[in-house]
Subunit: 139 residues, 3 copies
């Protein structure tokens, strides 16, 4: 049994950019000594989440529409008074969806469905580099 903690980085356009990170996680597993176990995928920061989706542009649009419908951009957020920020919606979306996901793998393969990709969802406003922790544990 062993644990390996890595960081992957992606460029995010911000504002509900949904980024497929499956290949990067596959690569972390391929280069590791671990064949079977969990990949814990964790976003440091409080304005992004990780989940899975069938990664195709129309569904990504549907996800953006759902987030805008549930946590609208144009309502009042008290958080804006704290820092003069404009990303209250980003925080509330990220806290609701959570920063973390664990995906099991075996024989060095993530046990995903055929039409299921791992994505970072960036709820924040500005473009930026996003670091994501990928920690493998197993044997």
């Amino acid at each position: 049994m062993a644990v390996e903690t890595k960081t992957i980085s992606v460029h995010s356009e911000g504002e509900m950019n949904v980024i497929d990170i499956t290949a990067k996680i596959d690569e972390v597993i391929r280069k590791s000594k671990i064949n079977e176990g969990i990949a814990t995928i964790f976003v440091p920061g409080s304005t992004a989440s990780v989940s899975t989706i069938e990664f195709e542009p129309n569904l990504v649009k549907d996800m953006k529409n759902a987030m805008e419908r549930l946590f609208p951009s144009d309502i009042k957020y008290n958080h804006h008074e704290t820092w003069g920020d404009d990303n209250g919606k980003s925080h509330v979306r990220a806290t609701t969806m959570g920063p973390s996901m664990t995906v099991p793998f075996k024989d060095k393969k993530l046990l995903l469905g055929t039409w299921q990709q791992i994505v970072l969802i960036d709820f924040d406003v500005p473009a930026r580099k996003r670091d994501i922790v990928v920690q493998l544990m197993g044997e």
Copy 2:
């Protein structure tokens, strides 16, 4: 320390079928060599989620009502244009709730509350067999 990766299967009626899988996970733990650790429960596929609930029929109805209120069946989903599918709502619900959960256990017992069951929530439309990965890790 060891890792064991199993798959359990259930029959799902589709359309917000909420299925109590606690007993099946208990059985995986009972038959394993691991006494203390985590059970990672992961649904391959992008139209179902796992969570916990007080599993009683009225609350299951409330959960269905909430999902229908937040992600209605009768609004436009762009995903329908991609494949001619009708399950845009199913995907958006599943991505929001996530495919994965980790539950700790000790002395071969899941550390759940008294009124807390582990459930598969199938957001997709058709009835089908659903496979769920249960991976135990610990000692």
Copy 3:
């Protein structure tokens, strides 16, 4: 590799009390023999969740407003007919957000962002003591 299962306790005021439990989890890690691995944070019970947030009072208010908007207190919940309870909203919120989160740590430090705290969100109505399982696994 080792696993250590601990329980931390907090006093909750109920009704959307959001409680920063980061320092308590830091302490569990500091006192353990494990330097690198995952902390699985799990709430037994079906009316509370764990997530991360930038813990400041205005954002906590925004989170309360969002939950009230999405899962209102003043609509019908079938669950109330089962036990004569009044916490249908609490259950539906908790099942949607989930009871569990895994956070990686290294060199005994949780890999959180600078403005990211781990919180218990108590969706239930009465004040009470809340127990939270913190299970460390790693080496």
